[in-house]
Amino acid sequence: MTDTQLPRWEVFKQDAPNKPHQAVGSVHAADPEHALLTARNVFARRPQAVSMWVVPEAEIFSVTKEELVKGRRPKAEGEKAINYQPSTISKYLVFRKTTHKRSMTFVDYVGELGALSPQDALEQAQQKFTDAEALAWWIVPASNVAKSDPDAQTVESWFGIAKDKTYKQQSSYGLVGTHVSKLRGLGGEDEA
């Protein structure tokens, strides 16, 4: 069967300016702008956010603690082969998972570094980010990251609105879902 899905993008959401971008899930989209637009709708219509990043899943190099023990090198999330030029230094974004606690997020952004290859970036990251044990690493070439517009008007339009909106339980919508017993005395045939 032919796969008619659009490419998959991993979505990173930042909840507040002093918090890291966190992997919250994925969307299917045609291109970076489309991925950001759909990511905003799927992941930030209600929950708090100030910024979003998207990355094509095929460009993410991921490796778990267990795989490192077995000596495995980072592999791309997808199956697409990518040719990197190991002679030039380019920027990589490093994400790390540090807890097994059940959570809506996977890896957190820890920082950026210059490296010759994803493998080189991973080795540097292991030396540099030692404040907590890494259960998994994601290494992302910076050139593959699309970011939401930091301009104030866009931030307000994409994320500001959610601040005025709250999750409502069904029970707060008055009549819908209100148990009959609560309406006794308001008239109607239930009263008898």
């Binding site: 637009l37 339009s157 009549l175």
Partner: protein, 252 residues
């Protein structure tokens, strides 16, 4: 507030609300039928936002005449609705839906930007609030117009067909209501001809950049908002059916 101003403003709030309410329902018809899950969610979000805007406008009307927004939305007959005909047309295909939403979003964003300066403070506040959401809608729908226009031969053909059909209808958004000039004179609402200039500037540039041609023959242009196509009747029959089924319902 002078009685003639109040009357004109009530009529304007009704027209603004009806545009949003009817468009919201057409968008909501896509729920569960979107081309991909993400877009299904996105359009449901837009539909919900537009419904929220209708609530805002009917709320402002209520402040003037005490009318109940739910009664107006769910118990009013189609002959009393004052939405533009464009918004009641059946949802068509994805190109038709995205183009209509885009043409309306550009209009709405331009109108709201001007209405932020309204001399009637509740309207100015509402415009500023709604505008924040409209900016995002517009980014989303203009991205779709561009992608379908520049996409494949088939997507371009569908987009062009939608444009040929909608362009004339869209002009009704810029036809003032009967007493709207009273409101314009008092700086309560923006002059629609200035809004249209901005709208034309944006749409002609973006449509051409998306390899779409503005129709030479504009076609049917509805005038008064007091008449409608047959499609409004069936839309309301569905939209209002639950509320009308048991108007006194205490529990659903």
């Amino acid at each position: 507030m002078k009685p003639e101003v109040k009357k004109a403003l009530i009529a304007k709030f009704t027209a603004l609300a009806d545009d949003e309410l009817v468009l919201s329902h057409r968008d909501a018809e896509w729920t569960g039928h979107g081309p991909i899950l993400e877009e299904d969610i996105a359009l449901a979000n837009i539909a919900q936002d537009e419904l929220g805007h209708a609530t805002v406008w009917l709320g402002l009307r209520k402040e003037l005449d005490g009318s109940d927004p739910d009664q107006l939305a769910f118990f009013r007959d189609s002959t009393k609705f004052r939405n533009a005909e464009l918004l009641e047309l059946p949802r068509g295909d994805w190109a038709f839906t995205m183009l209509r939403q885009y043409l309306f979003d550009v209009y709405e964003a331009a109108w709201l930007s001007a209405a932020k300066a309204s001399s009637y403070q509740p309207l100015a506040d509402a415009a500023a609030k709604i505008l924040r959401e409209e900016r995002f809608h517009l980014q989303h729908t203009q991205a779709w117009v561009e992608r379908l226009g520049l996409g494949t031969e088939e997507s371009n053909r569908r987009m062009q067909a939608a444009l040929n059909m909608q362009w004339g209808y869209t002009q009704q958004l810029f036809v003032p209501l009967q007493d709207e000039e009273i409101l314009v004179r008092e700086n309560i609402v923006p002059d629609l001809s200035a809004v249209k200039t901005k709208w034309l500037e944006h749409t002609t540039r973006h449509l051409r950049d998306s390899r779409l041609e503005l129709p030479l023959n504009i076609g049917y242009q509805p005038g008064s908002r007091e008449t409608h196509t047959e499609h409004l009747w069936s839309l309301l029959a569905e939209m209002q059916s639950v509320a009308r089924w048991d108007a006194e319902a205490k529990v659903w």
